[in-house]
């Protein structure tokens, strides 16, 4: 189109007459659909939209209501630990706390365990960019050039692996879930892999190539806030260690909002947990490492099931219902207006 319009008519030598072509395009007589806001079109559009939105909204609300979710704020319950963490010099002191809760009904289906953070501005511009994707791909790159600063190297020049503020501030609480069944405590089996996107795990994050992981990261150092180097993130599972550690990958996918949750574990559906979590008393055993008081943040642990329409957030359904209603109402109003109008002026509305 651009070309068509910008090329001005070149006077053809061969054409004896300068009479312009009588083509539909040049004479601006292309057959056109002229959207006429006739009453039928208008009303049908409003009512159809209304009906559609209402039905979608109802479906969404129903499905959102089927989601079971429990969210526990443990920043207060582990106040001792949080006080300890306030002082950064105690970073290597361990602190544990446990949180009890009761499931009143079964959580059926896949149960996901999230940790939630509040007021943590992971979406801060300089935080978001403070990473080196190339390093995480296992390439040997000069991270000095990347946006990782100031978390690139130590003073002595040892590069950090992984570099950048995101990696440095990785969430490092460990949370275990115990099922208290008749005074016996059963640890709920949790899956720590398969939580991240497949593409992240298999394409976007790669460990440096070497015969073993520790040698791959030789010459690098852990980020300052970390307690252990990256190749010790998961000592049990070789395929979940280093950069391809699921927890790490999930953390590296920065959240959109200051209050967010990240998938931490999935309940492994075996034995009595084959159908999900049965109702009863549970306990979280939390190794409290991640300080949140500094930024007035809070920490949650969340158990939730998932449906096709996402989580328990009913907003979308409600929004659909509301807009559907609005559209239908507008339709009625327009009908009324039209009926009134038709009596008054008749000459143009046909």
């Amino acid at each position: 189109m651009k070309n068509k319009t910008s090329s001005l008519p070149q006077e053809g030598e061969a054409r004896p007459s300068r009479c312009p072509d009588n083509s539909a395009f040049k004479q601006q007589k292309l057959p056109a659909w002229k959207p006429q806001l006739t009453i039928a079109a208008v009303l049908s559009s409003f009512f159809l939209t209304g009906v559609f939105c209402l039905s979608v909204g109802v479906c969404l609300i129903i499905s959102a209501n089927s989601v079971r979710e429990i969210q526990i704020d443990y920043s207060d319950k582990c106040s001792d630990c949080s006080k300890l963490r306030e002082n950064s010099s105690n970073w290597n002191k361990e602190c544990h706390c446990s949180v009890n809760f009761m499931l009143k009904e079964d959580m059926l289906g896949d149960v996901f365990m999230y940790y939630g953070l509040q007021n943590f501005y992971q979406n801060h511009r300089r935080y978001v960019i403070s990473r080196s994707d190339a390093q995480l791909l296992g390439r040997n790159v000069n991270i000095q050039k990347s946006y990782c600063a100031p978390f690139t190297t130590y003073r002595n020049g040892t590069p950090m692996a992984p570099c950048g503020a995101i990696a440095n501030s990785m969430f490092n609480d460990t949370i275990d879930l115990f099922y208290n069944l008749n005074s016996s405590v059963i640890q709920v089996p949790l899956l720590k892999t398969g939580n991240s996107w497949w593409t992240d795990k298999n394409v976007k994050f790669r460990n440096p190539k070497s015969y073993n992981l520790s040698s791959a990261f030789a010459g690098t150092a852990r980020p300052p806030y970390w307690q252990k180097p990256v190749y010790l993130l998961d000592e049990e599972d070789e395929r979940n260690n280093g950069y391809v550690n699921d927890d790490f990958i999930i953390w590296m996918r920065v959240s959109a909002f200051a209050t967010f949750r990240n998938l931490y574990r999935r309940v492994r559906r075996i034995r009595q947990f084959a159908d999900g979590l049965p109702a009863g008393n549970y306990t979280f055993h939390i190794s409290y490492n991640f300080p949140v008081t500094k930024f007035k943040g809070r920490k949650h642990v969340i158990l939730s099931t998932v449906v096709w329409s996402g989580g328990s957030n009913p907003f979308l359904g409600i929004a659909y219902v509301v807009s559907g209603t609005a559209a239908t109402l507008t339709g009625f109003v327009i009908t009324v207006i039209h009926l009134k109008l038709r009596k008054k002026k008749t000459f143009f509305q046909k």
């Binding site: 189109m1 651009k2 068509k4 319009t5 910008s6 090329s7 001005l8 008519p9 006077e11 007459s17 300068r18 009479c19 312009p20 072509d21 040049k26 004479q27 057959p31 056109a32 659909w33 959207p35 006429q36 806001l37 208008v42 559009s45 969404l60 501005y121 992971q122 801060h124 511009r125 935080y127 978001v128 960019i129 990473r131 994707d133 995480l136 791909l137 990347s146 946006y147 100031p150 503020a165 440095n168 501030s169 593409t199 976007k204 959240s255 959109a256 909002f257 200051a258 967010f260 500094k294 996402g310 989580g311 957030n313 979308l316 929004a319 207006i337 039209h338 109008l341 000459f347 143009f348």
Partner: protein, 1489 residues
């Protein structure tokens, strides 16, 4: 916006070009090439030959050679220079600033490289466009530079082929027929015997008629071709300048003799040599210094009103941007200060510390500016440009603008003001050639006070009127038998007429003349169109009465009738002279068609078979001898020896002329005519007469039979159509202009044979004198005769007045003058163009004396123009009035209709013309500019004060009228015979003449004048000079802040066209100057209707809608980012990948608005044409008032809110990551923005569909591909696999759907409500489109009635004319008459003004009917007026009585008007005319006293 910068750039260019004379921007206006250090005011040209060699080397270095370069760039400087030019656009600078800003690490928001992308893309597009344009120019230049021409080579001692580019100043160039002149050169030799060369200047100014050029005096007598080796003169002339019509200088021979040079000696680059076998000239200006090149100012750029408005809105956007950035900065500061210690998501500086919140906020401000930069639409300018190109393309291709007869269509010369066409409030129109056809048709004439109506001629014209539209050629057949016209002209001339086109614009400007010739016409020796030669102009049916009288002349020549009355004989003389004057007093070139433009030699010579060069030489010598002879009778002798034919014919006419007075014994008549004649003259012929009667008779018939046969082949090429019309008229009476050379004119008179007049002088027409004269020596009486023709206003003052007592012939003269004046007034009233023809007989002594003075004037260099003028004025006195002619200039097809439509569209139309008042007013009526029931105010004051007084009185009157009660208006309505279609509202017209205009345009009166004109429906300015026209336009444009359009066709309209916002040129018969200066060139006035009503409306609405949409789009999109800042601590994060962010504007949503801007059609063309009222919406810029702008912005805010917050609440608290959150927002935004466009579109064609669907597909393809491939593209953003993931997620679709629906709902609702409740006219018109044709017609009619009702309400109709205005008149006049008066009438009448207050005749066309009824009254009235006049005459001096008369007439007229109801106009008119006349009469009187 960029004016200071432009200025700076201009200065810079000038600097560059004067330093390195290479002057790459050579097409930019005229520069002074030679500064004073070289040659001062003059340039010296010397040939590079012989003894001049040394000086030549010295001088020629300073001059340019003939190589031209119109390109702006070279390969080397293209990039820097183009960039330099592009960065003059403020928007580009802004984006450059952003790019630079992004390199500051502290504030960087994007990756450094990405910010550059939009800028680079925009710059590249423009650079490529410029580069291509420049390249085509380069190719053209090269072609031209390599054209061959014959240049004299010193080495080889002959003319050799040389490229144009190698031609230097001082070179001798030899050109053959039909070759193009490569540089400006002084003509030194022409193969033509008279030293004449004809050139066709079509390549320069588009005028197809031939121009004569003359060999430099002194060289023309040379028999052989000039030998460059022997040329030993130096030429001194002006420095190069761009004035095509001026060239001054002299040739200094080796003996220090100087010969003056004028433009007659200069051959201009780009013109074509015609009719002349070979010419030789010496180059004086070459290359860029040629006049043609200096005139080539290149395309001009105007900035449209809309664009200016867009700029202010962009400023609003900047303000908005700053506001948003400030919000971000403050927000960031506050957010940071909430934390007592650094949170670890806030990255410390490299030194481990964190910057204080205030500083961080400050930095954030700049970051935000980078982030939100898209708010200022960088692509807007590019898009606007592209859209304008598209619109222009469509305008140019509109088949309705195609005019078959001239095979021309519209040309848009200014590419960027198409939308101004939609906002025109004032149209300033020329009359001649613009409203009229400029085909001058001889209608009537008055000779010696006797009128000849030419009824048959009128009938013929009427029959033409009908057939004109079908086929002129058929009419041709009809009339062909009546006149000596062969048919070829009808076919060929028009067919070959090559209209201007885009290419030839370039040629016209002088740079590419040669190529066009090559294109096709080159081989044909001549096939040019002969201007002013359509059959309607050439055919004149003679008036039977006059023809009878005329035939008596020829019969009387041998049938001496004793009883012929004195009166008749006197009349005969008059008639003879009259037609001689018609035939001679002009500058018409005669050519023969089948030997194209070979001028006709004297027939006796021309028919001689020329065998050898020797014979030619002999002939030439003979001729020159005769030319130089000055003794009284040698020519007779010689011609007798040469050919008996001419001798006899001369004798016969001579005898005829003088016999009658002698026989009558009324010697006074002869004495009057030949007052200074020596007595011998009257005796000699008588003898000759008797001797030769018999011989004359015989030979006559022979001659006529021979000479009549070539008649049909004569082609007249005139400079002005009037001239052509007169020559053709003379031809119809068998007074045929046979040939014209610089020193003789041959006229074949009434079958009496050829008369060869020795042409002594031509005093050409100029607008100051308003007349032209020729001085000839009569071949028989051998007296010097001056024939003058000119406007009656000036001519009447130049007539001979009684010097002593009341001589009989004096009385006769006076009578003739009075009668002729009456006829003239009558002609003017009929809308005819009038010319007075007069003659004067000079004695040799008188002539010699005058000649002396004239020669002095001619040879002076410095003050030549003024001296020549003075000399001319000295000659043109004491004239004897012969008669007057009335030439009709018919209205163009469809003019009244167009004017009515434009008027309905709310456009005020002014007519600015140089014609006299009566003609102008009549044309104004004919073309419905003024309507019968309009009240006409005529402003005609001699002084400024009077003018002011009159105007304020009129205004007062109007105001009183407007506030008058409705009752009176109704009363008037019932009285007035106005057609039912028009509301009987108040409407007034203002007529003002040139002299009054002068006063009115003075600073102190401007305001009141404008106030007055605003009250008037139409304004007619007559007798306005070109300068006044432009001043008027500028006044309205600047003071009223109105959009003006000037339309004209001639050179006199150029200044007005240039001043107006939009200049429209009509490519008519008067050359191409107007077209060259215009922004749009059309071939017919009626095309203006579609141009404005349809294309103007479309272009304007399209562009405004597109611009608004652009703002909407950017605001809506950028706000998404802004809202996100509230959730990321105002840290400047973008939730969309940067690439997608940038490409969103550049790629995904850029084409649909362009298509929308080019193709959208709110109302179909037919309805726009039928309902001109619709134009008002665009005229008042309804679509682009502040309110739509802000509504659009509000809507944009709303939509961005929806588009952001629906996904926000949906994903709030979930584990969504930042780019996955951005993706649905972005996608929804795309849909919203594109569907918004769809809602706004008034018509959706397949192109729209393709583009919109294509955009959506492109977006998805791009994001999918991007998401699949970029594992780690340049950090930090990383949309890897996000789109893919979302495509499988139903929530994504649901979110997009809901967002799109909710966001567009209000806009949709708004449109729905507009379509039902608040229907705008445009929408109503749109509805019409759906109706069946019949319903449509009814609806339109209903609409018009509606509109009239509205009008009625609007213009509170007014009461009957006048009482107040009358009061004003009489009051004013009484003041004037009381004033003491002095001698000189002009100054004395300082305080006298005349206002007329009239309501016009209902039907001016039906003159015969209505006028008759009125006549009686009128006459009585006139008589009474005369009486009063004469009373005062006796008692008082000139001024007082004039004003008195005027006042009497004025009040008389008014009272009469009351009596007669409405039909007082004519009386009024006459009163005024009488007034003018009396004024005229008085002037010479008083000077005598």
């Amino acid at each position: 916006m960029a004016d200071p910068i432009r200025w700076a750039r201009y200065r810079w260019q000038r600097l560059i070009s004067t330093e390195g004379r290479e002057g790459s921007s050579s097409n930019s206006s005229n520069k002074c090439y030679q500064s004073s250090k070289t040659t001062g005011k003059h340039r010296i040209v010397i040939p590079c030959l012989g003894h001049f060699k040394e000086e030549y080397e010295k001088v020629s270095k300073l001059y340019m050679n003939n190589q031209i370069r119109t390109t702006k760039y070279t390969l080397l400087n293209f990039l820097p220079r183009n960039l330099f030019e592009q960065f003059h656009r403020v928007a580009n600078l802004y984006f450059l600033f952003l790019v630079v800003l992004n390199w500051v690490p502290l504030v960087e928001a994007f990756q450094k490289e990405i910010t550059m992308l939009p800028l680079v893309v925009v710059l590249t597009i423009i650079a490529v466009k410029d580069g291509l344009e420049d390249y085509s120019k380069y190719k053209m230049d090269k072609q031209i530079n390599n054209l061959l021409t014959k240049v004299y080579s010193r080495k080889e001692k002959k003319y050799i082929d040389e490229c144009w580019k190698n031609v230097n100043v001082g070179d001798f160039i030899r050109l053959s027929r039909n070759e193009i002149i490569p540089a400006d050169m002084v003509l030194l030799y022409s193969s033509d015997l008279d030293g004449i060369c004809y050139i066709e200047t079509a390549g320069l100014d588009g005028e197809t008629n031939l121009k004569q050029r003359q060999v430099v005096r002194g060289y023309s007598e040379q028999v052989s071709e000039i030998d460059p080796e022997k040329f030993s003169s130096r030429i001194e002339c002006e420095s190069p300048n761009n004035d095509l019509s001026r060239f001054q200088g002299f040739v200094e021979h080796s003996n220090k003799d100087r010969v003056g040079l004028s433009k007659e000696n200069l051959l201009l680059r780009g013109c074509t040599v015609r009719n002349t076998e070979a010419v030789v000239g010496i180059v004086v200006y070459a290359g860029h210094e040629t006049k043609a090149m200096l005139n080539n100012s290149g395309p001009h750029y105007k900035r449209s009103k809309l664009e200016r408005k867009v700029n202010t809105d962009i400023l609003w956007c900047v303000l908005l941007l700053i506001l948003m950035c400030l919000t971000g900065a403050i927000g960031h500061g506050i957010w940071l200060s909430r934390y007592s210690e650094i949170p670890f998501f806030n990255i410390p500086e490299p030194d481990g510390k964190s910057i204080p919140p205030t500083l961080a906020g400050f930095n954030m401000f700049w970051t935000m500016i980078i982030l939100l930069q898209v708010l200022i639409p960088v692509s807007l300018y590019v898009s606007i440009e592209i859209v304008k190109l598209g619109q222009i393309y469509l305008i140019q291709n509109d088949i309705d603008f195609y005019h078959e007869k001239t095979d021309s269509t519209i040309q848009c010369r200014a590419l960027n003001i198409a939308e101004d066409l939609g906002q025109i409030q004032y149209i300033f129109s020329d009359k001649t050639g613009t409203l009229t056809e400029n085909k001058m048709v001889f209608r009537r004439c008055s000779i010696a006070g006797q009128e000849y109506c030419h009824e048959e001629n009128a009938k013929r014209l009427e029959s033409y009127q009908e057939m004109d539209s079908e086929d002129e050629d058929s009419a041709d057949h009809q009339c062909g038998s009546l006149t000596h016209r062969s048919k070829w002209r009808g076919h060929d001339c028009r067919a070959v007429n090559k209209p201007l086109n885009r290419r030839s614009l370039n040629q016209l400007s002088g740079s590419y003349p040669a190529l066009v010739r090559e294109d096709g016409e080159g081989d044909v020796p001549h096939s040019g169109h002969v201007a002013f030669s359509s059959p309607i102009e050439t055919d004149v049916v003679p008036d039977t009465q006059l023809l009878e009288k005329f035939s008596q002349i020829s019969s009387r020549s041998y049938q001496q009738s004793e009883e012929a009355g004195r009166k008749l004989s006197l009349e005969t003389t008059y008639i003879t002279d009259f037609f001689l004057a018609l035939a001679i007093c002009n500058t018409v070139v005669v050519s023969v068609p089948n030997q194209p433009r070979q001028k006709m030699r004297q027939s006796s010579l021309g028919r001689m078979p020329i065998k050898s060069l020797e014979e030619i030489r002999q002939m030439f010598q003979r001729l020159s001898v005769r030319r130089l002879s000055s003794s009284p009778l040698p020519s007779v002798k010689e011609s007798s020896s040469e050919s008996p034919n001419s001798f006899v014919s001369k004798l016969s006419i001579f005898r005829m002329k003088l016999a009658s007075p002698a026989l009558d014994g009324a010697a006074q008549r002869a004495a009057e005519c030949h007052s200074t004649d020596s007595p011998e003259d009257s005796q000699v012929p008588q003898e000759l007469d008797t001797v030769n009667v018999a011989a004359g008779c015989e030979h006559n018939s022979a001659v006529s039979s021979i000479e009549l046969s070539p008649l049909p082949k004569l082609c007249y090429e005139a400079e002005s159509p009037d001239e052509a019309a007169l020559v053709h008229a003379a031809r119809a009476y068998k007074c045929i202009l046979q040939s014209r050379t610089p020193d003789q004119v041959t006229v074949d008179f009434a079958g009496l044979g050829s008369l060869t007049f020795q042409l002594l002088h031509i005093l050409p027409f100029d607008s100051v004198r308003k007349r032209m004269s020729v001085v000839v020596r009569h071949p028989i009486s051998n007296k010097v005769l001056v024939y003058t023709k000119g406007a009656d206003s000036v001519m009447m003052d130049l007539l001979r007045t009684a010097s002593e007592g009341t001589n009989n012939s004096e009385m006769e003269q006076k009578k003739i003058k009075e009668r002729t004046q009456k006829h003239l007034d009558d002609y003017a009233r009929r809308g005819l163009r009038t010319l007075c023809i007069a003659k004067k007989v000079m004695s040799d002594a008188e002539y010699a004396e005058w000649l002396n003075h004239h020669f002095l004037a001619e040879t002076s260099i410095d003050n030549r123009e003024a001296l020549l003028l003075e000399s001319a004025v000295r000659l043109e006195t004491e004239l004897t009035l012969l008669g007057a002619t009335g030439i009709e200039d018919r209205l163009q097809e469809g003019v009244p209709d167009t004017i009515q439509a434009l008027r309905k569209a709310g456009i005020k139309i002014w007519m600015l013309t140089g014609d006299k008042r009566e003609t102008a007013v009549n044309i104004a009526y004919a073309c419905k500019l003024l309507e019968p029931d309009d009240r006409i105010f005529t402003l005609k004051s001699q002084s400024r004060d009077a003018c002011a007084l009159v105007m304020s009185k009129i205004l007062e009157g109007i105001q009183k009228n407007t506030s008058a009660s409705k009752k009176t208006s109704r009363k008037l309505g019932s009285v007035s015979p106005s057609p039912s279609t028009r509301a009987p509202g108040f409407s007034a017209g203002l007529v003002i003449d040139g002299r009054t205009l002068e006063h009115v345009l003075h600073d102190s009166l401007q305001n009141i004048f404008l106030e007055l004109t605003e009250k008037c429906r139409a304004v007619v300015c007559c007798q306005a000079t070109p300068l006044q026209k432009s001043i008027v336009v500028r006044l309205v444009r600047n003071k009223l802040k109105a959009m003006t359009l000037a339309v004209g066709d001639g050179a006199n309209d150029v200044s007005m066209i240039q001043v107006a916002d939009t200049g429209v040129g009509i490519s008519g018969q008067e050359g191409m100057q107007a077209v060259m200066a215009s922004d749009f060139a059309i071939s017919q006035f009626r095309h203006l209707k579609k141009l404005l009503l349809v294309h103007g409306h479309w272009c304007y609405t399209r562009l405004t809608n597109m611009v608004l949409y652009f703002f909407y789009k950017n605001v809506a999109y950028v706000n998404l980012l802004f809202w996100y800042q509230f959730f990321c601590g105002f840290s400047g994060t973008s939730m969309t990948d940067y690439w997608i962010l940038i490409l969103f504007n550049l790629l995904f949503t850029s084409v649909p608005p362009i298509v929308y801007g080019v193709l959208d059609k709110d109302v179909p063309a037919e309805i726009l044409m039928q309902l001109p009222q619709l134009y008002m919406t665009s005229q008042k810029s309804v679509a682009y008032l502040p309110s739509p702008f802000w509504i659009t912005l509000l809507d944009a805010f709303y939509q961005s809110l929806v588009c952001f917050f629906v996904p926000y609440f949906t994903y709030c608290g979930s584990d969504i990551d930042i780019f996955s959150f951005g993706n649905p927002i972005n996608t929804a935004a795309l849909f919203i923005i594109l569907f918004h466009l769809l809602i706004e579109c008034k018509s959706v064609t397949w192109i729209h569909t393709v583009v919109i669907v294509g955009s959506i597909l492109l977006y998805f393809v791009f994001t999918l591909a991007f998401g699949a491939t970029c594992k780690t593209h340049n950090p930090p953003s990383n949309p890897y696999w996000i789109m893919e993931k979302h495509m499988t997620d139903p929530v994504f679709y649901l979110v997009c759907l809901l967002t799109t629906c909710v966001a567009l709902l209000p806009r949709y609702l708004l449109r729905v409500l507009q379509g039902t409740l608040f229907l705008s006219p445009v929408l109503r018109a749109k509805h019409l489109d759906r109706l069946t044709p019949k319903e449509q017609r009814e609806a339109i009619k209903r609409w018009e009635d509606d509109c009239i009702v509205n009008c009625r309400v609007e213009f509170q109709a007014t009461s009957g004319s006048s009482s107040s205005a009358t009061g004003a008149v009489s009051e004013e006049e009484s003041i004037a008459s009381v004033l003491p008066t002095s001698k000189a009438p002009l100054q004395a009448c300082s305080r006298h003004g005349l206002v007329e207050d009239t309501s016009f005749l209902p039907d001016i066309q039906d003159e015969s009917g209505t006028t008759n009824g009125l006549n009686s009254e009128k006459n009585i009235f006139l008589n009474s007026a005369k009486e009063t006049n004469s009373d005062t005459f006796g008692s008082n001096n000139s001024c007082a009585k004039v004003s008195m008369c005027a006042s009497e007439e004025g009040s008389g007229a008014v009272s009469l008007a009351h009596k007669a109801g409405l039909n007082s106009v004519l009386c009024e008119e006459d009163a005024l005319m009488h007034f003018t006349k009396s004024e005229c009469c008085l002037k010479p009187k008083s000077s005598n006293c």
